[in-house]
Amino acid sequence: MKYMLLIYENDDERVAMMDERMPHCAAYVETMKKAGIYLTGDRLRGATTATTVRVAGGKTQVIDGPYAEAKEQLGGYHIIDVPDLDTALAWAARCPSAARGSVEVRPIWPL
C-alpha cells in the first residue's frame, strides 16, 4: 500500500534550521530508497510563501498565507510503498521531524 507521510512542525524554526538539519533528512530519505520503499517526496518553502485560493460564488479569492494559521505547518512529505500501516508507522517514527513535530500517515487513495 502507498502512504503519504505528511510532516508538520514549527515552520519558522524549520526554515531557520534547514541547513543544519538537512543531512539527517537526506540520510533518512537515502535509507528509505535503499529499503526499496521510497516513491517520492520533497520539502516545502516556508508557510510565509504560501498563497491560498478559494472560489466562492464564481469569484476567485486569493489569500496570502497558508490554509490555516498555526505554528505547526506542513513542511514536507514522503510517499512510500509498504505492506501495511504498521510498516508505514515504523518508517514515520524514524523521520527526524517526528521528534520535533508530528508526522501524519495517510493511505493514498488511487485515482
Binding site: 501495511d84 500501516l85 504498521d86
Partner: protein
C-alpha cells in the same frame, strides 16, 4: 425426518456461530482486510446453511462448507463492485482459496488473535476496540454491543462501521506483532477484553441479561488469548483477575437483593472452582518473566480470598501490591484502594492522609468510590459530621439503587437518624 434434520441443522449452525464465528471472519477478512464484507458474506453463508442443511443433511465439515459458500459470496460481491484488471488478480487468489478449502480436510487456521490485534490496534479509537472485538470475534450485533456499552444502536453501528473502514483503508495489518512489540500491543487487546468484562460486571443485580453475558464473554475471550499465547504472563493475569471477580458474583447481593461489600461477604458463597482456577493461573504467571498490572490486581484478589480458609485478608500484602500498582499506573483509582489498605494496616488517620493527597485531583470530584472510601475512613476516625457529608456525596453519585441503600444505611447508623 425433516423436523429432526432441521433441528440438527439449526443446532450445528448455532454451535459454529458460537465457537468459530471469529475464526471464520478472520480467515475471510485476512486478505482483503475488509471485515464488513467478510461478515456480510458469512451471514449469507449461514442463511444458506439453514436452507440447505435441513434438506441435504449437515455436511461432514460444516465450517469448510460455510467458508466455501462465504468465499463465493465475497467473490460475487467483489465482481459486482470492481471491474477490470485490478480485481482479476484478487479474484483469482480467492477462487484458488475456495478450491483449497473445499479440497482440504485440514483444520481451519485460527487467525482470531491476529484479528484481535487489528481491532485493538493503536490506530483505532480506544473506546471502540472492545465493541469491535465483541462484534468480529463473537458476532454480536450493533444493538447488543450498544446496549452493553450504554450507547444507542445507531451510534454504535456508525462507530463500528467507521472503525472497520479505518482498518481496511489505512491498511491495518492482521498480524500478531513481533516479539519486541508484543507486550505493549497485547496490553491494548487485554484492556479491550477487560473493558468488555467490566461492563458485564457492573450489573451486579444480574437483571440485564445482555450485560451479564458480557462478563462471561470477557472470560471466554480471556481464555482464548491464554490458549493462543500461553506464555504471556499478563494474559494469564487478566484471566485470573476476571475469574476471581466472577467467583464473587453471587456474593455481592444478600438474599433480599441488598448490596454486600467485600468485607462483609460470606466466603462460603464464593465459587471455589473459579478461585482454584484463578490461583493456578496466577501461580503459573508468576513463574514467567514480566509482572504487570493484571497479575498485580489478581494478586490483590488472592490476598482477599484467603478468607475462605478462615484467615482475614492479608492487608499488609494488599497495601504493598497497591503501592507497586500505583507506581506502574499512577491511577487515582489505585491510590483510593491503597488508602483503604493503609487504613487497615496503620489506622484510619493514615488512610485519610493518603486520600488527602488526592484531594486536588479534579477527576475524583464526581467519582463515587472516592467519596465512599473517604466517608468510611472518616467514620472510623470518629469524624461524624465530615463522614456524613462524604456519605451524602457518595449517595448522590451512585447509580445502583442497592448500593445507594447500603450507603444510606451506613450514614444513618452514623448520625443515628434516617436521612429523610
Amino acid at each position: 425426518m425433516p423436523a429432526e434434520n432441521s433441528a440438527l441443522a439449526h443446532d450445528t449452525a448455532a454451535a459454529i456461530a458460537r465457537q468459530s464465528y471469529g475464526k471464520l471472519v478472520a480467515f475471510l477478512a485476512r486478505r482483503t482486510r475488509d471485515l464488513a464484507s467478510a461478515e456480510d458474506a458469512l451471514s449469507e453463508a449461514f442463511a444458506a446453511a439453514l436452507v440447505d442443511w435441513p434438506a441435504g443433511g449437515v455436511p461432514k465439515n460444516p465450517e469448510a462448507w460455510l467458508l466455501t459458500v462465504a468465499r463465493r459470496k465475497q467473490i460475487d460481491a467483489l465482481r459486482r463492485q470492481q471491474s477490470g484488471e485490478q480485481a482479476t488478480g484478487h479474484l483469482q487468489l480467492m477462487a484458488d482459496e475456495v478450491a483449497a478449502t473445499a479440497a482440504s480436510e485440514a483444520m481451519l487456521p485460527d487467525d482470531r488473535l491476529s484479528l484481535m490485534f487489528a481491532c485493538a490496534h493503536p490506530a483505532i479509537d480506544r473506546a471502540i476496540r472492545a465493541p469491535l472485538i465483541l462484534q468480529t470475534i463473537l458476532g454480536f450485533d450493533a444493538a447488543t454491543v450498544g446496549s452493553a456499552f450504554l450507547v444507542s444502536p445507531a451510534t454504535m453501528a456508525q462507530r463500528l462501521v467507521r472503525a472497520k473502514n479505518k482498518i481496511r483503508e489505512a491498511g491495518i495489518p492482521f498480524d500478531v506483532p513481533e516479539r519486541n512489540e508484543l507486550a505493549e500491543r497485547l496490553d491494548s487487546v487485554l484492556e479491550a477484553i477487560y473493558a468488555a468484562f467490566a461492563e458485564g460486571w457492573s450489573d451486579p443485580a444480574g437483571t440485564e441479561a445482555r450485560r451479564r453475558n458480557l462478563a462471561d464473554e470477557g472470560i471466554w475471550l480471556g481464555r482464548l488469548v491464554v490458549s493462543l499465547l500461553p506464555e504471556e504472563p499478563e494474559a494469564l493475569g487478566l484471566l485470573s483477575l476476571m475469574l476471581y471477580a466472577q467467583s464473587r458474583r453471587e456474593a455481592r447481593r444478600d438474599a433480599c437483593g441488598e448490596y454486600m461489600p467485600l468485607a462483609e461477604q460470606d466466603p462460603q458463597l464464593w465459587d471455589a472452582k473459579l478461585i482454584d482456577e484463578a490461583e493456578t493461573l496466577l501461580r503459573r504467571a508468576s513463574t514467567m518473566p514480566g509482572t504487570g498490572r493484571y497479575q498485580l490486581e489478581a494478586a490483590v484478589q488472592s490476598a482477599h480470598v484467603v478468607r475462605r480458609l478462615g484467615c482475614s485478608s492479608d492487608w499488609a500484602a494488599i497495601e504493598s501490591i497497591y503501592a507497586v500498582l500505583l507506581r506502574i499506573t499512577g491511577s487515582p483509582v489505585v491510590a483510593i484502594n491503597r488508602s483503604v489498605a493503609v487504613a487497615e494496616t496503620s489506622g484510619p488517620a493514615a488512610g485519610l492522609a493518603v486520600l488527602d493527597e488526592l484531594a486536588g485531583d479534579s477527576r475524583l470530584t464526581n467519582y463515587q468510590p472516592y467519596w465512599a472510601a473517604r466517608a468510611e475512613l472518616l467514620a472510623r476516625a470518629g469524624q461524624v459530621d465530615a463522614a456524613a457529608a462524604a456519605y451524602e456525596r457518595a449517595i448522590g453519585l451512585e447509580a445502583d439503587p442497592a448500593v445507594r441503600r447500603f450507603l444510606q444505611r451506613r450514614r444513618s447508623e452514623l448520625v443515628g437518624a434516617p436521612p429523610r
